[in-house]
Symmetry: C2
Subunit: 160 residues, 2 copies
Amino acid sequence: MRKIELNAIGLIHTPFKIREGMPIQPTGAKGVKGTIIIESEFVEGLKDLDGFSHIILIYHFHKLKEYKLTLTPFMDDKPHGVFSTRAPKRPNHIGFSVVKLNKIEDNILYIENIDVLDKTPLLDVKPFIPAVDVVEVDKLGWLEGRSEKMGSKIADSRFS
Amino acid sequence: MRKIELNAIGLIHTPFKIREGMPIQPTGAKGVKGTIIIESEFVEGLKDLDGFSHIILIYHFHKLKEYKLTLTPFMDDKPHGVFSTRAPKRPNHIGFSVVKLNKIEDNILYIENIDVLDKTPLLDVKPFIPAVDVVEVDKLGWLEGRSEKMGSKIADSRFS
């Protein structure tokens, strides 16, 4: 299968130095502030991003070495296929969060509602655009009736 | 800077064999059907994903070799920093779309509203969960007042 080599464009800095006790989604990290330090070679690409109140972060769960195809996620006590969950222990270890962007100064993005480990490598940042990023869902699978509670969950050793 | 090596978990098949004439966002690809063929080694991870009506796709714009830090996006006639746009010609060439999931049969996902080039390598698939993926935006930057029109735009040679 095709191999794809990427380079981090920056590092996400957060108060979360260890995985235990971390919020598992941005909704559980309300008000948690962090910064993203963008590599100087990419700073030109940030122009006009500060016009947007919310941004999409795509990043790499850098502490994980392995993945599991079946796992029991935080929101359930039954096992599910990893791709039906947002668990980090997935092939490619790619994470996705929508966070609030407070301001940009030079190569530093000041963000809020951030739910990742300190020094997480950032792969991409994009503006969050409701007209294309928001859809009406009919079915929420095993999360039906419980996804609203995701915000209050915090990580335990399953993140390790 | 940290190098990250990923492997595609599958390929996205769509009717779009060339970039010219393609929709530039899923909202412009309403009703366009495609399939994703997942590599057999990852099929176990798909269990229960079919309970969700919409999924997040994270993929690699595999036809692009270079990036531009400043470019003029489809929705404007003025240049912007690439990270303030959804243009594919960005560092790491990572794309993100929310699509409808109609069904899964073995290793094949049947999807709708797909806006990528045929044989695009898939890096990750996650359930779309409004409780964590939808935020209320205050500011839409240079897209203010025009993002609703994104659906009607199609690609020209800027995608090449």
